[in-house]
Assembly symmetry: C5
Homo-oligomer: 324 residues x 5
């Protein structure tokens, strides 16, 4: 489905559906800028890419495939083929889904393809619809706007993870449950997933921001550099996040073992106090014919007192050694 | 055993067995493409490689040896000698077996040797048998097809491991057994083995995709780059797999220790409630002559109630402190 | 809020508030040095930066934004745009707050902006107020002084952490409490945060200390190198700190498990001595009609002695095996 | 002790003891190849190296010293000074001993020195004795043969470790003993020791296999590359070994804790079943005057049945919760 | 305090105290070599460095400061300023103290400064006093001798640590005490400290041994390379040390947990055997009116035998399952 087609002649024109003839004419040497955004590439779309734009078969194959490819730049002289990753974060299940944006950057056109709807392309598209100015600066700036929107869309996910991480740490400290561990491990995995997305991405954007590619002029490089800085900042934040999550894991483990220790200590307290006392009671439960104490008038009371003394002094002793 | 020999003159010809004279003639300056695929290299085959193709003795020695050599490219000007690794994965025992493909790439020939049957060479061979078109593009493209098939054959293994990993994680959470740990450790080892295969391989393919070697033209480099991207993608996937397996290991360990803790808590519950009660019973089992309570009319019943009160209040206390 | 504006003509002049006309005139080709330090950049300030100084919109955007950007140098030919990080350390809560200083270094001016008050700029400012000499050496030296102050302000934090780490290690050894673990983990996080601040910073200063930028002459490079050495030294110190904290963590964990082991050993001692004795008492509490020992004259005393012997020999046995 | 001296004139000559005059004459410009292999360098040998061969004092000092030096190549224009490491593996004590071979490679001579007898030099020596052909290819090939033998001698050690590692893993699974842990840790240390020997060695051989040194011609470089490949392969194998040993360690730890858990579970089973029953028996052991049940005709049998019911239902309950 | 001043004219002259005039004259163009070794730099010394030698203020500041700076080389064209680290190891407290040596290497002079007495400078000084020959080879060789002595002084520390590590490992295996853990952790920290000293040092010496600095001629580079090799060797040794210490830590932890397990097993043995027996005794301690067994003639003896059978069979059962 070709979601949108755009055209900016000296007088600015907007097309709902791409008109093949017009596009062909334009590509030959038209002035202005054309943007095609294709969601869920069909065979028909693929033919458009292959035959009208004459993109390399391997690049077109990457667009058709539903797999997630690693971020990269391929320089085909006439156009750049860029693959970058966005994020779809489902906060309740804490799953980070990677989405792929393929972008062809030519002299007077930008073609973007993706398998699922992407907030970045649609938001830039709305902005462009509202104001043609965004197109006037040329293809390299339009590509920048799209990539910038894609990268900025990762930020809210990191913020949400930050909040979640704080919640989990609190839970780990005050009421460690089995679910807490599961959440911690899930969150850690999500953070690792984001790190793995950010760092190759950063290398791609770094490439674009240097004077390696003829299609990206010096004037726009600093803007690509800016995206690079954003990615770097996000990486710093994910490192902090990982620290937090590892802290939460340690807190959880120590909370759990602390509770267990508490339980064991109570067992020990009860057992070490009552086992000797029970033994004493056992002695005077014996049926020997000749046990003088049993005949004493206050034998029973004396022995009760003796037991109390033993019990209390054991408890005091344990208290003093800071066991309880 | 020379499993197959192929020859494509301007008019396309297929040989069942290599004809030495023909080959010698062809190698001198024949147009077209020759592919020899040798399985389990014999001394006779080795002589063919040494005397007819005049390959370097060290390269021929690598082909004969049954050892697995690290992936590499040796540039002998007239031909490239490439070693790459494939995978044989036995899912039930979860063992990753590395297989080795040695490939000589000359101007108008490709020679492949391997110790065990390989799906990659045989599938390309069938395709070539069905359609000569694959040979027409020249040696560098035939070599690409073989390497591409080899690399793509690793993917199903990663998918299977993915499934297995999910199964194991589930098992670790719901019924941790000793076998679960063994499976986790075995799977982790397999994943590490695959990582170790992928990453040097990637460096070899990276070398082929750059303009380092005269035998690989600019037109085919982008195709080798494509294999490189596949390998990169698989590496990303194995990293995720490793995360999953480490998560499973943590889940297993925490499941096991959780069960143990549960067991210990029940012991503590029973012991801390009944030890004091038994002590009380012990007291009234003593045989002192003068124990007034024993003569009370409802002494027995009173003491039963006292015991019940002690027992219940201890249980309530533990419950309140969330121990059970 | 523009906290201060400074101007040094051949005769040295000090301005309380920047005079736009004067600044514009000076920037064109004035001799001397101008320093603007802007805290909490307002829209008005941003316009000053954009229109009067003609800084690049992206750099100005970085100054306005309240986010912490990663340290970097952007070279805009006429001026350098540098972002570096300072530290605000709250010792009681052990939180390391990163503060950001943005610095524009031109031929005859330095502009610094920051969101929160910074000790480094204010201390250099006071020094400059007291003695114009600091301005006479030119922009690159003023920028050096500010960066130097910023970096030196990190040192006391490391010292404080050092003290704290020693205290915590002591506490972990002698009275491990739950709070100790929390402190250790918090301190570790703070140290990691400082490491993450120091190491990209070092790369930025390294860049300034090499002959990469036209605005920083050879004469001042050695001074920037000096800042670099300070940062390196701090990194070495933070590595040591991390060792100490990890040592403290190990000490804590081993202290806690030691105490638990001690508790368990006492339980075992008491239980293993008294359980057999209670059994013996139980035997002679049985009500069989025919139990000869019960009728012996000294049966009771003999059995008491037997029990004492059993108890003492068990205790001696355990003592010998070094359990207690 | 100069174990052997060799000389190959156009007509092939073999010397038992080096003849100083002959050697001096040969070194000036003799055609052929001289090989001196010195075991346990004496002062006299050192003078030979210093005065006749005119080797650099630092190189000679390295030969005399009994210390193990890190692998390196020193290029003294007229000759290369190479230090490489061999392995002596004592399988019963599982100790990896590093041995050092120092090798001087000149235009028409090779001098090797070592402190202990080395299989690599002696085996090459025997081959040379048997067949002069090995000397005919020149110094660089003789040096290659010696280094190749040295590196190949590491392989059997890795194989033995592989066997040992499998044995240990089995032991860890089926009968974990304290000795098992010691073996695992010892084996791990040996593997680390081998890794540390292989990886700097590889860098040295890598240097020799590139066109960095005038004394090693293009024709022989591919042979040095072959040694490099062997080292790379061994490194891959040691990585696998390390995985196996770490797996064995995990198996051991989990086996031990499994056994402990089993023991604890039996304790819990016995205690939780019998403690309540003992309490019941304790109740009817009390001596209250008025305990109606005691007078019932079948009171005793009823209570026995009650106890059996309690005990069995507890056991069933535990069984159902999969504790046993 | 200027501990020593040295001067070697063609005829060799020795000064006890530096004579300013003579030094000034010499520095202008004197032939020979001057060595000043300053311990605990005073303000007066600093002036000498600044005014007579005209060293850069930052280098002089580094000499005055009591802080430990990271190793580095600063090239001021006329002289090199080198900072390297020595070690003071207190074996009883196992503390590694880093000491700093600052060295100025000029054409005809060497100036060394340090805060504490250093064995390396004083030993070279004695050698120089005994034999002027050491000065005759020029400044670069004197600097080499000092650095060589400094580096060699690290070796005994590593040897001592090696011994200590073996002692500790033994202790960990045979009598693990709390102090053992503390020693292990302290030793590990010392080893890490040494690693951190060696590795940046190595980079400094590596710089000196390459042809980067005009003041260090080709002839002496191989000698600096030799120091580099020593440092490399020490690094290898510290890696082995770290392995040993980590082995000791594992041994300790497993020894401690082994002892605990042993203790727990005894508890379990005693408890699981006596708890059922006590229950049996409890049954026959009940006071039911109608308990036929109690009236049997040999009831008591039968029940004693029953108990013995139960106890022994439990013990045998446990023995068989290898618990004890």
């Amino acid at each position: 489905m070709i979601k949108c087609a755009f055209y900016l002649a000296p007088d600015g024109k907007l097309l709902d559906q791409p008109d093949m003839e017009q596009i062909k004419g334009f590509l030959v040497g038209g002035e202005g800028l054309l943007w095609l955004d294709i969601e869920d590439v069909t065979n028909e779309d693929a033919e458009l890419l292959s035959n009208v734009f004459c993109f390399h078969p391997l690049a077109v194959a990457d667009c058709i495939s539903k797999n997630i490819h690693p971020p990269k730049i391929d320089d085909f002289d006439d156009y750049l083929f860029v693959i970058v990753h966005g994020i779809n974060y489902h906060i309740e299940s804490d799953v980070v889904e990677t989405t792929e944006l393929a972008l062809f950057l030519g002299k007077n056109y930008v073609v973007t393809t993706h398998d699922v709807p992407m907030r970045s392309t649609s938001s830039v598209f709305s902005r462009v619809q509202a104001n043609g100015r965004h197109m006037r600066r040329g293809a390299e700036f339009l590509a920048h706007d799209i990539l910038d929107a894609l990268v900025d869309n990762i930020m809210p996910t990191i913020d949400e993870m930050n909040d979640k991480s704080a919640t989990i740490e609190d839970e780990a400290l005050h009421e460690p449950k089995r679910e807490t561990l599961k959440s911690i491990m899930q969150l850690k995995r999500s953070i690792l997933a984001i790190e793995r997305i950010l760092s190759p991405q950063r290398r791609v954007i770094d490439g674009l921001s240097r004077s390696e590619y003829a299609l990206i002029g010096e004037r726009s490089q600093i803007y690509y550099r800016n995206i690079y800085d954003h990615l770097l900042r996000m990486e710093m934040l994910t490192y902090n996040l990982r620290d937090m999550v590892e802290g939460a894991l340690n807190t959880y483990l120590s909370s759990v073992s602390n509770r267990m220790n508490e339980v064991m200590k109570v067992l020990t307290l009860i057992a070490t106090i009552f086992i000797p006392l029970t033994f004493v009671a056992g002695i005077y439960g014996m049926n020997f014919a000749n046990m003088p104490e049993l005949q004493w008038r206050y034998g029973y009371f004396i022995i009760l007192i003796v037991m109390a003394v033993i019990g209390i002094s054991l408890a005091v002793h344990f208290r003093r050694r800071r066991w309880f």
